[in-house]
Structures are given as C-alpha cells and as structure tokens.
Amino acid sequence: MAKYQNLIEELAPRKFSRLGVVWTIALIVITMIGAAAYIDQVIKGQVVTNMRDYVLWGVYISNFVFFVAISFVGSLTAAVLRLTNSSWRTPLVRIAEIIAFAAITMAGITIILDMGRPDRLYNLFIHARLQSPITWDVIIITTYLVISALILYIPLLPDLALLKKHYQDKPKLSRIYAWFAINWNGSPAQKALQSKSIQMVAILIIPVALILQTVDAWLFSTTYRIGWDSTNFGPYFIAGAFVVGIGGLIAVTYVLRKVYSLENFITDMHFDRLGKILVFACLIYLYFNINEYLLPAFTAPKAEQAHLEEMFTGHYAPLFWFVTIGGLIVPIIVLLFKKGRKPVPMFIIAVLVVVTSWWKRYIIVVPALLHPFLPIQGVPESWHSYFPSLHEWAIVSGTLAMALLIITILVRYVPIIPIQRTMEEQGLTEANENDKKS
C-alpha cells in the first residue's frame, strides 16, 4: 500500500514552487507583450513588420513552420513507441503528447497572425478552394489538432480517475478531474475500449503527421521560386520535423525531470536512448540537406548558383553554417559518444538543436524571396533586405511563450509520467495491493 500511495504522491501534479510561479508569470508577461504588439499590427497594418513586397513572408511563417515541425514529436514518440510497446518509453510519451498539442495549437494561432485580413478568416471555410495548398494546410492542421488532443486524452483517463481520488481533500479540483475522467472505473469493458482506441489513434496519427509535414513543405515547393521549387521538400521537412521533435522532447524532459525530481523514472538510460534516436534523426536530416544544398551545386544553373552562393559564402552564410554545423554536425559528433548522451550534455545539445531548427526555417523562408526571377527594381532600398522588426520579435516571442505556457499549464494539472501505466509496470495496481494485504 505504501509503495502504491508513494507512487501516486510522487507522480501526481503538484503546486508550483516559487520558481514555477515566477516562470509562469514571466511567460504570461511575454505573451501579453506579444498580444499588444499584435493589436498594434492589426490597427496599423503589417507595415509594422519589416516584410515588404519582395520578402512577403518572414518570421511569422518561419515560426509557423517551426511549430508544425515540432508537433511531429506527438506522432513519433507517442505513436511509434506506444505501438512498439517498449516500456522504457512510458515516462516520455505524455511529455511528447503535451508538446505536440501545444505546438499544433500554436501553429494554428501563429498562421492567423500572418494574415493581412484576420477579420476575414471565415472566408477560408465558406469560399475554400480545394486546389490551394493552404486549404490542405487548414484541413490537416485542424485534423492533427483533434488527433493530438485525443492521443493525449484517451491514455490519460485512468490517471484522471486516480487524481480524482487523490485530491479528495480538494473538492473543487477533484470535481474537475472527475468531469474529465468520465466515470473511468478501470472495468475490463472500459479498458478494452481504451486499449483499442489507443491503438487506433496511434496508428492514425502517423499518416496524419506525415501528411501534415508534407503539406507544410508543399506551401513552398508548389511555387516556382529558386530555393523552394524542390522535389526534395516533402521528405526534407519530415526529416527536419523528426530532428526538432526529438530535440524538443529531450529539452523539456530534462527540465521537468530536474524540477520535479523525477530521476527515478527518467533515468540516464532514457537519455541515452533518446540520444541515439537524435543521432539517427540528424543523420537522416543531414542526408536530405546534402541533397538539397550540395547537389544543386553540381550543375548550378544561374539562379540556383546565386542562391547557393548566398548561403555558402554570401549574406546568409553565417546563419547557414551556424544552423548546419550547430544543428547537425555538432549533435551528431557529440552524441556518437556515450559520454555525450548523459543528461546534461544531452540537454545542451537539445537546446542547440531546437534553436538552430528555428533559424533553419528562417533560412528556408527568407533568402529564396530575395532571388526573384526579375531584378528587384523600383522599390525603396530597404526592401532589398529583411530582418524582423521589434513588432515581429515581440509577436514571435509571444507565440513561443504561449507555447511554453500551454505546456506549463498542462504539466501543472496532468501527470507528466503516466501513473496508471507505471504502476502496472511495477505491479503496483490497487487490486494487487489489496491482494497483498489480504
């Protein structure tokens, strides 16, 4: 009984410490600043950004692509690891599902921030053209949002029921858990339904996630632009999502582990395994990068040549090499060593991967727009280059803060490590305990 109760104590969501409160407040403040900047943008128009007719998509879009990419972790870990039934994944899946849910929610919000006329959002539904890749994007993001919510919720049911009981001394909280737990009583019928549903959603989320990443890539590769018009883009984006998804998972896992002292549940072994997966992901992504950047240099038609030169030696070279070396080469090298796969270096590498992944999307979106087919003429000199304005930084930071805020709130009320599952694995079910007693 003691062990059973202890487990629940350890894994049940706890109130925030001082640090947690400060963290949350900071996120709220950043989000509010972003919201204020957005309101200013709606009033004055997007002239408050540094986007103009040539760089017509900027950080809003690259940030959006980043969120879509990182949401891939939901299908990766949650689905793949759930389906392979490996028990080591248990502590990680919920974190992955939470990150995925937060990311896809923010992707949906972020894209609206880029619209010139957000007041006409409904046009996307009543006048939708199926021929447009944006329509495909709207459909698939909505779909993925629902599925990632389901894959978070359905396996959560037993834990919600447990927490309902656990917080009996806090009636309000207990009632909320009870409402979400929808009469879960652990009966064989319910368990069967749940198990089947998890199978269904885990299988479903994989093709949906792949379609999501592909459609996102097709927003670019369905145009004629040099740097975007690539047959490589679909799988390239999938591989990129793989990398940033795992990177994000590692980073968040490390922080939560530290803050909630979950070292017993998330061990060095977990980091080691995640490290191996990340190396694998980076190698795949490196392969696609070679196809995307190195190969065109072989024939290099004039327009391609100009674009590649910008990346390798030109204006965007520092950013390009930072992203490629910092985001791919360094992680691969460090993580090939066992010492590199210890939690602390893993965390550093993971943060590096996430940051470089964010800038990677910037490098994909912006430089191509500065190489149109016809020369850039007849516009002010400032239109020949781009760097985000203060409004754009404020709004982007607001979206990133809001993503972290969603994760924080979910972590506050949802057990990070699936309690029921862990108990089953440790043979600590209520039934067993009662048996032991008797």
Binding site: L130, I139, T143, L157, I182, L193
Partner: protein
C-alpha cells in the same frame, strides 16, 4: 421699398466684388489662349453628314484639347454673308460634331462653311474655313473563283466616277479598324477599287464590319460602312468552363476532389469512432 433698394444695391456691390474675385481666378492665365481649330466634313453610310471640329491650344505641357468650348457654325452664302447654323460644344477630347441638315436646295458643287470661336471667356477669337464637294462612296464584298474581294466605287455629286483618289480598306475591330491589303488603293477610271482579302479574317460572331475610307481635302472624310458574314469563327480558347487547378471551387478537378475527400473522410471517420469510444467509456 427703401429697404428693398438698399438690399439690391448691396447685392449688386457683393456681386461685383465676387466677380472681381472670381473672374480673374477663372482666367488663371494672364492672357486668353488662342485655340487652333481643325474642321472636317464627315460622311458615313447610314449616318447624317456632319461637320467635325477639333480644338486644341498650347498649354503648359504642350498641346491640350479645348474642353467645353462653344464653337459657332456658319454656312457661307456669299463672300460676305454668313448664315448662322448653330453652336456645338467640344467634349473632353476637344471634339464636337455638328449634324448638317438635309440639303435639298443647294446644287452648288462646292460647299463652304466657317466655324468660329467668338466672345469666349477663356479663349481668344478664332475661326477656320471648310470647303468640300459632295461625293458618294459605295462598297461591298464580291467573290470570284473562291477568292473574296472588297469592291468600292466613288462617284461625285453628279454620279460621275472620280479617278485617282486614295481609298483605304479596313475592317472594324474592337479598338481601331485594321487595314486590309496595302495602306491605300487609288480609284481607276471607273472610280473603283478591288482589293483581295488574302488572309481569312477572324471574328467571334462571323460577321465583319468593313469600312472603305476616303480622306480627301476636296471631299472630306467619306466612309462606306457595310457588314459581311465572312468572318472565320474561332473556337473558344479559354478554360473557364473546364475543371482546372485555377478554377473556382465549383470546378475543382475531379481527381483532386475525390482523392482529397477520401483521405479526409477516412481520417475523420476514425476520429468519430474514437469520440464514440470515449462516449461509450463514459456510459459504461
């Protein structure tokens, strides 16, 4: 009574004052500009003959049309006497048309007219003379040995053929007529021309409107206009009614429509089942 007079006097003073302010401002330029008037005699099949006046003046940026300018039309009876016919006002392009009434009595060979700008606030006085002789121009399409020709004949007021006049053969198009064949053809001793239509002329309706035009100092601008159903009909080149990737939502390509909906429905049926399962769990 006295009050009324006072009021009228005040009004007059005010009127005079306002004129002093307004009139100089109306004449923004210190001097009135000298309009240059060009006059032509226009006669087109099926329309009454008219005198066409076009005015322009030298403005700041070069020649500009005289807009809204009153021009008086006079017929010259004898060397000294003019008969006032009417006034026309030029439009935004500086052009005006005065429709000539049907003349039954005038058997003179040459007709003389004068157009004048007189007593105009904005422009100096100007005039321009017009002399023309009446001519009739007829034209039609004939076909010989499966070749189509435009034939036209130019006759003077007495019905005699006019030789050596330069005629242009055109087909009316959307914005300006297209010349057929050479830039012009001279009439022979019968006053006629015959122009081969070498390339088939396309038209959506199949009906072409031809004009044969004489531009002459003596006869004015005389046009013979007629329709002929010899246009080659071109099939539609647009994709408006087809299902294409650039069509409106109602004309989505079928492949895309079917394929996309199968995928979407397939996924959402599973989602619905999942939600059903959740409800089942709740109920059990």
């Amino acid at each position: 009574m006295k009050a009324n007079l006072k009021a009228r006097f005040a009004a007059l003073i005010l009127f005079g004052f306002c004129s002093l302010i307004f009139i100089p401002q109306v004449n923004a330029q210190d001097e009135k500009a000298k309009p240059r008037l060009s006059v032509e005699y226009h006669k087109t099949t099926g329309e009454p003959a008219s005198i066409f006046v076009k005015g322009k003046f030298k403005g700041e940026d070069g020649y500009e049309p005289t807009v809204n300018l009153d021009v008086n039309i006079y017929k010259v009876i004898t060397e000294d006497s003019l008969a006032f016919l009417g006034t026309v006002t030029t439009n935004a392009k500086g052009e005006a048309n005065y429709t000539l009434p049907e003349e039954q009595n005038d058997t003179a060979l040459e007709h003389y007219y004068v157009v004048k700008v007189e007593d105009n606030d904005k422009f100096k006085d100007a005039d321009s003379d017009l002399m023309f002789m009446d001519a009739s121009l007829t034209a039609e399409i004939i076909e010989e040995d499966s070749i189509k020709y435009v034939v036209a004949q130019l006759l003077d007021a007495d019905g005699n053929p006019i030789e050596g006049q330069s005629l242009k053969v055109k087909v009316r198009r959307l914005f300006a007529p297209l010349t057929i064949g050479e830039s012009s053809y001279d009439t022979d001793e019968d006053g006629s021309i015959m122009v081969e239509i070498e390339d088939p002329i396309p038209s959506k309706s199949g009906v072409l409107t031809f004009e044969v035009v004489l531009e002459s100092d003596d006869y004015g601008i005389v046009k013979a206009v007629f329709d002929a159903p010899i246009g080659v009909v071109i099939a539609d080149l647009d994709t408006f009614d087809k299902r294409t990737m650039w069509s409106p939502p109602g004309k989505t390509p079928l492949f895309l429509f079917v394929f996309a909906n199968i995928i979407i429905l397939g996924i959402w049926i599973v989602i619905v089942l999942l939600i059903r399962n959740i409800i089942k769990i709740k109920k059990s």
